[in-house]
């Protein structure tokens, strides 16, 4: 095994740079090094001005998402040896504006996420004193998969629809809506459907399926969106067929 690998890293500083450029760095190629370790090596030993986000190094904080060889990946869970002999291209996630180097602006998602009300909605006003909401392990299993989302934005980077139609609410937001819809403690289905039944809601999706492919936590946003489409279609049909009182 070669003892180093070349990394081609996107560099961009707003102001001096009008467009992003590519810088090349040789980093040690170690069996246990992820792409993120390579970036940390560059920052520590070669160029301390390199900017990128990271935190936990164990695939749970969701902040180190980048495009590695064009594929959205968590860089802490993507090993350099898989790209040997290199070079390995590291770019910021697609479909988001670049703040600097590998850091993207996810403000658009932060604005969209609360629109689907990803929290438990109740139609009563039970307080903590009245006790907790009980749930069986089977009821937990119903939504657990969708609760694994870490908001890493890989699905948005993989979704060509989001790139072309920035109004599309996007895969993770819909998967999180489904997570709460499937929760036995929740009563907010109606409120979420009102948001997602719109054109920029679930109907924006044309089922490319890449969101599910790239998801590092096996959430399956594409599946969630198609299920939501069934709900929305049913609702539209009911509105069309039934008088208001019978719905």
């Amino acid at each position: 095994m070669a003892d180093s690998i070349r990394m081609q890293v996107t560099r961009y500083t707003p102001g001096p740079d009008s467009v992003p450029t590519v810088a090349e760095y040789d980093v040690p190629l170690r069996k246990d090094w992820a792409v993120l370790d390579g970036l940390n090596y560059i920052k520590d030993h070669v160029d301390s001005s390199l900017s990128y986000r990271w935190s936990c190094r164990m695939g749970i904080c969701g902040s180190c998402g980048m495009n590695v060889e064009g594929e959205p990946k968590l860089t802490c869970a993507t090993f350099l040896t898989d790209y040997a002999p290199g070079p390995v291209r590291v770019e910021p996630l697609s479909n988001f504006p670049i703040v600097r180097d590998l850091v993207v602006d996810i403000e658009d998602f932060m604005e969209k996420l609360p629109r689907v009300k990803p929290w438990i909605i109740r139609d009563d006003d039970v307080t903590v004193i009245d006790g907790e909401y009980l749930q069986t392990p089977e009821e937990l299993a119903e939504y657990k998969q969708f609760s694994n989302c870490i908001n890493c934005m890989l699905c948005y980077a993989a979704c060509p629809i989001y790139g072309l139609e920035p109004d599309f609410i996007g895969p993770a937001a819909i998967a999180l809506a489904e997570r709460y819809d499937l929760d036995s403690r929740d009563r907010g289905q109606r409120e979420r459907l009102d948001v997602l039944i719109e054109k920029e809601g679930v109907w924006g999706c044309t089922f490319v399926g890449e969101c599910t492919t790239v998801c590092p936590k096996h959430v399956d946003p594409a599946g969630a969106i198609q299920r939501y489409k069934l709900k929305a279609a049913k609702e539209n049909l009911m509105t069309f067929l039934l008088p208001r009182a019978a719905r």
């Binding site: 707003p14 670049i98 009980l134 790139g163 490319v208 890449e210 492919t213 599946g223 198609q226 489409k229």
Partner: protein
């Protein structure tokens, strides 16, 4: 901030994107076959001479070429949608319907309320859903073949 442009050729960048665009495109050929079949039915309805004219037109090289391309797209359409159906509609078997106790507030007091929900069970594997769709396709095709050829 730098806004990353989306290339006009984004759909050529990944195999999956390309297959997706081809799948979307395939609907045009589905429509073509629907129109083709309807025109054939009308021709049959107008008598033998009309039907013969239609068949002659359908045998012209251009129409045959279009139909070969259309058939290829139709196969792609069928195969991709069969795969996608398995992911879009998870089918659950087994499990049991239980009365889930939920709380409701009636006249200011918290009372238990029951709703029937299905819990447990296991999801039918995607391969089985896909296989059953092909089985359905074979059954329908066999029926139509019997109808036409008998």
């Amino acid at each position: 901030m730098y806004r990353q442009p989306v290339s006009r050729l984004w759909w050529l960048k990944k195999r999956t994107y390309f297959v997706f665009v081809m799948r979307e495109l395939s609907c045009i050929f589905v429509a073509w076959f629907a129109v083709f079949l309807m025109v054939m039915v009308f021709a049959i309805g107008r008598g033998e001479a009309s039907y013969q004219r239609f068949m002659d037109w359908a045998a012209s090289p251009v129409v045959v070429a279009i139909n070969i391309v259309a058939l290829a797209f139709l196969v792609l359409h069928t195969m991709t949608w069969f795969v996608l159906t398995a992911h879009a509609t998870p089918i659950r078997v087994g499990g049991r319907r239980v009365l889930a106790m939920r709380e409701a507030r009636v006249a200011g007091r918290i009372v238990p309320a029951a709703t029937a929900v299905r819990v447990g069970g296991r999801q039918v594997p995607a391969a089985m859903v896909i296989a059953s769709q092909y089985a359905g396709l074979v059954v329908v095709s066999a029926f139509i073949a019997w109808l036409v050829l008998r």
